[in-house]
């Protein structure tokens, strides 16, 4: 089956993504998890808020922001989840174990801060 790419006439520019459709982060990016404490149920556990790590992978496909969806809002809220790796020593003071031990967790784009 020919790919979508090859079906496109050669003169046309590459497709432009609407806001929020293209992934803002890529594998290898340093990120910090936002330190917010909104009221309600949020799928970012507290123990990772404010902690730093690295994007390991962009999770496809884009997904509805399930925290917004919980309040009945889901139109236009599709963005990426990222698989983020955080060193255990970053999470827990005096962590007993290998310095290479890591936590991996998927975090929605709106919770990630660059750097």
């Amino acid at each position: 089956m020919p790919s979508v790419q090859s079906q496109r006439p050669p003169m046309l520019p590459a497709p432009r993504w609407a806001d929020g459709e293209a992934a803002l982060f890529k594998a290898g990016d340093r990120v910090r998890i936002a330190e917010r404490f909104p009221i309600g149920h949020y799928r970012v556990p507290r123990y990772i808020r404010g902690k730093s790590g690295m994007v390991e992978a962009v999770i496809e496909p884009r997904a509805v922001n399930n925290e917004e969806e919980g309040f009945g809002r889901n139109a236009g809220s599709k963005r990426h989840y990222y698989r983020v790796a955080l060193p255990m020593a970053e999470l827990w003071q005096g962590y007993a174990g290998s310095a290479r031990d890591q936590l991996k967790i998927e975090v929605f784009e709106t919770w990630l801060i660059r750097g």
């Binding site: 556990p45 007993a96 890591q102 991996k104």
Partner: protein
């Protein structure tokens, strides 16, 4: 849901049973949905039937296939959901599946600290301990101590990667193929793969005897 944690189960055999808060909530919601015609009772029964049809034998088939077929393993690690479909294992929910490969240098462990996210489509319902707070809290804070209590000793030169499933992704551990299974068939290998090894609380022991041989 029967046997819910919050119910008071009668152990004396007197027939008394007081449903807990969540059981009453769940029943009321189901009754309302049926009464309003959004679903019918058969839809609920059918969903339970689908849930109950999933069990660790499905995951074991995936693992054994990955051990025997390097190309399949690549596809499984690249996109768990699609590779499952190759074996006829469909996902009934809108989640992705990431398969985590155990190696000589990395051991993977799966947890859901917020609730009980679990690769149900591939290995069925989670064991009770997986849903309880001690496991959920300790898996991310002191995984090595926790694993020791399961009889699993992870050497210092092996890293532990704990995957906390919180939203969109379900995780399944691909255990290392046990030593001593070089001449095993795929079906024989599948029998060695346990539920706990696919959660990552144990590693599979070396095998001494081929299933066809008398020890």
């Amino acid at each position: 849901m029967p046997n819910h944690d919050h119910g008071h189960v009668d152990t004396e055999g007197s027939g008394d049973y007081t449903p807990g808060y969540y059981e009453i909530l769940e029943r009321s919601l189901a009754e309302l949905l049926v009464e309003k015609g959004r679903i019918d009772a058969n839809d609920i029964r059918r969903e339970i039937e689908v849930l109950d049809s999933r069990n660790p034998a499905l995951g074991a088939r995936l693992v054994a296939r990955a051990w025997c077929d390097a190309e399949f393993k690549k596809r499984l690690l690249a996109n768990g959901r699609k590779a499952c479909e190759e074996l006829g294992i469909t996902s009934y929910e809108d989640t992705e599946l990431i398969v985590l490969e155990n190696t000589e240098s990395v051991h993977n462990l799966v947890v859901c600290t917020l609730c009980s996210c679990y690769p149900r489509a591939v290995i069925g319902l989670p064991p009770d301990w997986y849903k309880l707070k001690p496991y959920r809290a300790r898996a991310v804070k002191e995984p090595r101590t926790l694993l020791k209590e399961f009889g699993t000793f992870i050497p210092d030169d092996m890293a532990i990667h704990v995957s906390d499933a919180t939203a969109q992704v379900r995780y399944l551990v691909l255990p290392q193929r046990p030593i001593g299974t070089e001449d095993f068939t795929e079906e024989e290998l599948a029998k060695l793969v346990t539920r706990d090894s696919m959660i990552g609380v144990v590693r599979l022991d070396p095998v001494q005897v081929h299933p066809g041989e008398v020890p």
